[in-house]
């Protein structure tokens, strides 16, 4: 998902802010900034006095910033909830003036079906991610524990994935292959 890095970065910023405010509060309340400060009220400081003096315009600025933050946070929330890295089409390389596109679902289904037919494969799922002109094939295969794993990996790479590259006329099509091992032996016979 596109938002994963942003999520982590935002949470790190939040953690640093919380730690800084907490550390400042602990340090002040235990007299690290002098015993006089710990007996002062929470608003008896330069920052609070600045806000008090400039409230007329400062709160308007804060409200405008609030609108911007709300808009940004809404966009972020929608990205977290609804964004996907999948692409619906793949652009095929052609020399002519026209444009040829392939429905990514068709390629994904074909690759999954071919891998699914191999002995030792329990299940196969394929999706196409990225942009139409810079697509990546992501294949997730669950193999049976009893399968000849190196042989099966070789077969997937040399047959199903090679066929996909040939079909797209793209020998360097980026491919991610994730292999999982079924914990219970499949009853399927192939």
């Amino acid at each position: 998902m596109h938002a994963d890095r942003s999520n982590r970065a935002a949470l790190i910023v939040l953690a640093v802010l919380l730690s800084a405010v907490g550390a400042l509060g602990v340090a002040t309340s235990y007299g690290l900034f002098g015993s006089a400060v710990e007996h002062e009220s929470l608003l008896d400081n330069g920052f609070a006095r600045f806000v008090g003096r400039n409230g007329e315009w400062l709160w308007v600025v804060v409200a405008v910033l609030g609108l911007l933050v709300a808009a940004f946070a809404l966009r972020w929330l929608l990205t977290i909830l609804f964004s996907t890295d999948r692409t619906a089409t793949i652009r095929i390389r052609t020399d002519g003036p026209g444009r040829t596109e392939l429905a990514s679902g068709a390629l994904a289904d074909a690759v999954s079906a071919e891998i699914d037919s191999y002995r030792g494969v329990d299940a196969a799922r394929t999706r196409v991610t990225g942009d139409p002109q810079d697509a990546r094939l992501v294949v997730i295969v669950t193999v049976e524990d009893s399968a000849d794993l190196p042989g099966l990996v070789g077969r997937i790479e040399e047959q199903a994935l090679a066929h996909a590259r040939t079909a797209l006329d793209n020998p360097s099509l980026p491919i991610t292959l994730d292999l999982s091992v079924a914990t219970t032996q499949s009853s399927r016979v192939s």
Binding site: A15, G66, I175, L179
Partner: protein
């Protein structure tokens, strides 16, 4: 961790939206009617004006913020367990076994050894720790199963042809009485 992060990020974004909208509403209400709209911020202001830094509530809140902040920081900066372990000699394709897949196959390789009833596997980037339980109650019999269990797990690990294979350790415990 990614799911936890997505949940926390969604909570944070909702909190930011709510806070920002509330601030806008209160600023507009104060400008037009000189009253609060939803939050009695006047009483909060008075409380802050009469509360000193040494107050117990301020100390408690500061400690809670510090602990939560540091906890979240450690959680985010900690290197996560590997989700996938790459297969060697795949220059053209980014091929890997999932961590769960490697755990499952190591566990089954050990439980396939005669005399072993169950096994648990912990897998990090560098180490694979297998803790198996023998069907025998005798500690000596269980100790004799350690080498066959280790060999079975190592054979399976070698067969995966991982780019950076974790170092394997196997312990076999006897069944408790």
């Amino acid at each position: 961790m990614r799911l936890v992060n997505r949940f926390l990020a969604a909570l944070l974004s909702v909190a930011l939206i709510a806070l920002a909208v509330l601030i806008v509403i209160e600023v507009v209400a104060n400008r037009t009617t000189h009253e609060y709209a939803a939050v009695r911020w006047h009483s909060a202001y008075e409380w802050m004006n009469r509360t000193i830094w040494q107050a117990g509530s301020v100390r408690a809140a500061s400690i809670v913020l510090l602990v939560v902040g540091l906890g979240l920081l450690v959680l985010e900066l900690k290197r996560p367990r590997p989700r996938r372990l790459q297969i060697a000699a795949n220059k053209n394709i980014d091929a890997a076994y999932t961590r769960r897949g490697v755990v499952a196959t190591l566990r089954s390789s050990v439980t396939d050894v005669d005399g072993i009833t169950s096994a648990a596997v912990k897998l990090s980037r560098r180490r694979a720790r297998v803790r198996a339980v023998a069907s025998a109650q005798d500690a000596k019999v269980a100790a004799q199963l350690r080498e066959p269990a280790r060999a079975a797990a190592q054979d399976r690990l070698d067969a995966l042809r991982l780019k950076n294979a974790p170092k394997l350790t196997v312990h076999v415990a006897h069944r408790s009485h």
